[in-house]
Subunit: 134 residues, 3 copies
Amino acid sequence: MLYTETILTSQRDQIHDITRTVNAHVRTSGVVNGIAVVYCPHTTAGIAINENADPDVKKDVLMRLNEVYPWQHPKDRHNEGNTAAHLKAITVGSSQTIIIQDGNLLLGMWQGIYFCEFDGPRTRNYHIKLIANT
Amino acid sequence: MLYTETILTSQRDQIHDITRTVNAHVRTSGVVNGIAVVYCPHTTAGIAINENADPDVKKDVLMRLNEVYPWQHPKDRHNEGNTAAHLKAITVGSSQTIIIQDGNLLLGMWQGIYFCEFDGPRTRNYHIKLIANT
Amino acid sequence: MLYTETILTSQRDQIHDITRTVNAHVRTSGVVNGIAVVYCPHTTAGIAINENADPDVKKDVLMRLNEVYPWQHPKDRHNEGNTAAHLKAITVGSSQTIIIQDGNLLLGMWQGIYFCEFDGPRTRNYHIKLIANT
């Protein structure tokens, strides 16, 4: 089963919680055991799994990534000017694979699934592919 | 098939080899061909695949990650003080997918699977999900 | 189905497009829906998904990664001298999972699949594992 979702991001750098949406598709799919692949089809955004409790973690993560991959760099050649967003996307990853057990995502207690925007605001999509097995 | 393992880490930053444990589950599972998803349900730890030969690689990797994401940062807001561990976990990744061929993990000659602790010492879990196919 | 490809890299740091090869295997496999796991069995190389349009993105990505993980570092202990390549490989990832839909890779319009060499030139392999599902 394949599901595609659309979101509208509102900032250049943004970590958007999609855990509920992904889990809702798992539950309605009828998949009891298997895996879910959450996939970002954009090259300046990605999918991450991280803390769902303190919202300051998101702010710190974006601040630190911005420091490691600054938006402006004197040696960048790419004329769209968003090289940093490509590096952040590669670092975070284009997809995450989560185990499905007993009809639910087998996330850790403090884990959430996040769409990571690094060159917004934009209209973005992501795919959820479910693979059932026994 | 799903297996869960528990490990006790002993340092703040630690790269712990779990290759034998993962491969043992693959062998006893009877899965001949497919994939293994090794998943970390914690937000300050991750799973990596890297060199299994020279132990200095692990030391260098932890030293370099600590330099890129220093433990203390004047702009961090997260009051647990472990923002760096979240960034290292995101960089390394929450899971790794390895191909299973002829009943064994299809790792490269120098590859091992590692549980990466970035905020230890703690008791940690990881999951091994096997998907069989032909 | 499992396919193994060999490539010859020509530079120390190189981002090599393998999208067509991966998609050709998907098409000839007869897999209509499922996932493709593209896996690098080396510890100083990896697989990334990123922009397929402006070749300057590749140059910028390699330049930026080299800045974050410089080739020479006074504290490195690993006597092969390629610690930076291990860190780049871990950052990029050993594998990528791509959704297969209607017999094709479900990549975004600007996405390509890349073999990332960080310690070349060398002869390298990568595996493509296809998992079919409905």
